[in-house]
């Protein structure tokens, strides 16, 4: 198996606040490139990696591939779970590093009232200052596509409360590699603060995301660009579009009529009315000699002299009638 080069991914990384607070500002005109609704932090991060590569040729994470994964938010038993579908990773991609990026703000537990001990004249009930912000844990579980269970707990990461709201990153390479080895490419992440009703977060540009830095061992294959970027067939296999070609082939291109539809003055060459040359006779008498085979049978090459003579009479024999379709004829008439 691929041993990733020793690379100490930052156990804790936190980004400058200003630029990340408002991804749109950083994106600028490149936001259009990402399409609507894709202007979240993961898009900003990936654009930044791309710019870094483009300007300095810096290989992202020491490999040739970076895959980002946006989560699907689900609430299970009052808890917010972020599901990441890692199935788009290719078998040829050897994972170097995987990082989990999340935005967190300090959570102050609610200040609570202290019953007054004695009702002194001038004492008044006072509130205890709020305790320390709650410690939170990141819980990772992995499950295979069709399992309905909670999944196998793959790791728990204790989080120190942040001094203020900011993005952080954690290295989850062992968790992702183990889950992939076991074929469980659905990962769930839970930000557990231990509170009873933490309140369910709504989808926001602050949703967490996963980045996987990999080395695609198949990228130097000839034509590797086609494997990931050539997606010609816009229709899913086996479901021809209504406008498909009449003979039900999956090819969506419209076949043009070869025989002229209406009677019109065809441009038969005057004085040449022999039939076109028959399909070459097949000495072995195979049945397909009657049907012109889709492939032209190779004829032995005639010598130089009769090649010249043959060229003349085949021209005379084979091209008496030229067919043009209606559109071409209209254009010709107009000219």
């Amino acid at each position: 198996s691929h041993t990733a080069p020793a690379r100490s991914a930052p156990p804790v990384a936190s980004y400058g606040l200003a630029r990340d607070k408002d991804p749109q500002r950083f994106l600028g005109d490149r936001a259009a490139a990402l399409g609507p609704g894709a202007q979240d932090m993961v898009a900003v991060h990936m654009l930044r990696l791309y710019e870094k590569y483009r300007q300095r040729g810096a290989r992202p994470g020491g490999g040739n591939t970076v895959r980002s994964f946006r989560p699907r938010l689900e609430v299970v038993n009052q808890r917010a779970l972020y599901f990441f579908n890692l199935t788009s990773m290719q078998d040829s991609e050897m994972i170097l590093t995987a990082t989990f990026h999340f935005y967190s703000e300090p959570r102050w537990p609610r200040a609570h009232e202290v019953p007054c001990k004695q009702r002194a004249k001038n004492a008044s009930c006072r509130l205890l200052p709020p305790g320390l912000p709650a410690r939170r844990h990141l819980l990772f579980r992995s499950l295979s596509q069709n399992m309905a269970t909670q999944g196998l707990l793959r790791g728990a990461v204790a989080l120190a409360p942040p001094p203020r709201g900011l993005w952080q990153a954690r290295d989850i390479s062992p968790i992702v590699k183990a889950a992939r080895r076991d074929g469980e490419l659905l990962l769930s992440a839970e930000l557990d603060s231990g509170e009873k009703d933490p309140g369910v977060p709504r989808p926001s540009p602050h949703a967490p995301y996963i980045l996987i830095y990999a080395n695609d061992l198949a990228i130097s294959e000839p034509n590797s660009v086609a494997v990931t970027l050539q997606r010609y067939d816009p229709f899913p296999a086996g479901d021809p579009e209504p406008g498909a070609a009449p003979n039900n082939s999956t090819d969506p291109r419209v076949r043009r009529a070869t025989q002229a539809a209406g009677p019109f003055q065809d441009n038969e060459l005057p004085g040449l009315d022999e039939k076109p040359a028959q399909a070459p006779h097949d000495p072995q008498g195979h049945k397909h000699a009657l049907w012109p085979s889709p492939f032209r049978t190779l004829k032995p090459r005639p010598g130089r002299k009769d090649r010249r003579r043959k060229g003349q009479d085949t021209f005379a024999a084979s091209s008496q009638v030229l067919h043009f379709d209606e559109k071409t004829m209209q254009k010709a008439r107009r000219k």
């Binding site: 490139a33 791309y50 990931t228």
Partner: protein
């Protein structure tokens, strides 16, 4: 294109991903300078076409004409450079891949 040199050399080609229908999922770049190689590898081949030893021998054998039907060597890319492409995968997640051999730097007769 008409005033291009006859000899094997690099020719300019800008590829716009919209022209090949890939622009829907390619975020960046929208186009890049790919170049291509074209031109003759006639005997005698000048140094500028960086002929390989085999191409030199093939070119001489063809010029001497002892063995009929030997074609002249081909003008192909020699040094190439990679291209980083940012695109959306089938799940519309953003992916960055650095593809090798996407742009021609030099051509040669092979």
């Amino acid at each position: 294109q008409w005033d291009e040199p006859r000899v094997c050399s690099r020719r300019y080609l800008k590829v716009d991903f919209a022209d090949i229908g890939w622009n829907e999922w390619i975020i960046s770049p929208k186009s890049f300078d790919a170049y291509y190689c074209a031109g003759a590898c006639e005997f005698p081949m000048p140094k500028i076409v960086h002929p390989s030893n085999h191409a030199t021998i093939q070119s001489i054998v063809r010029a001497v004409g002892i063995v009929p039907g030997i074609p002249e060597p081909c003008c192909v890319p020699d040094k190439m450079s990679p291209l980083g492409v940012l695109f959306l995968d089938e799940n519309r997640n953003v992916v960055l891949k650095v593809y090798p051999n996407m742009s021609v730097e030099t051509c040669a007769c092979r």
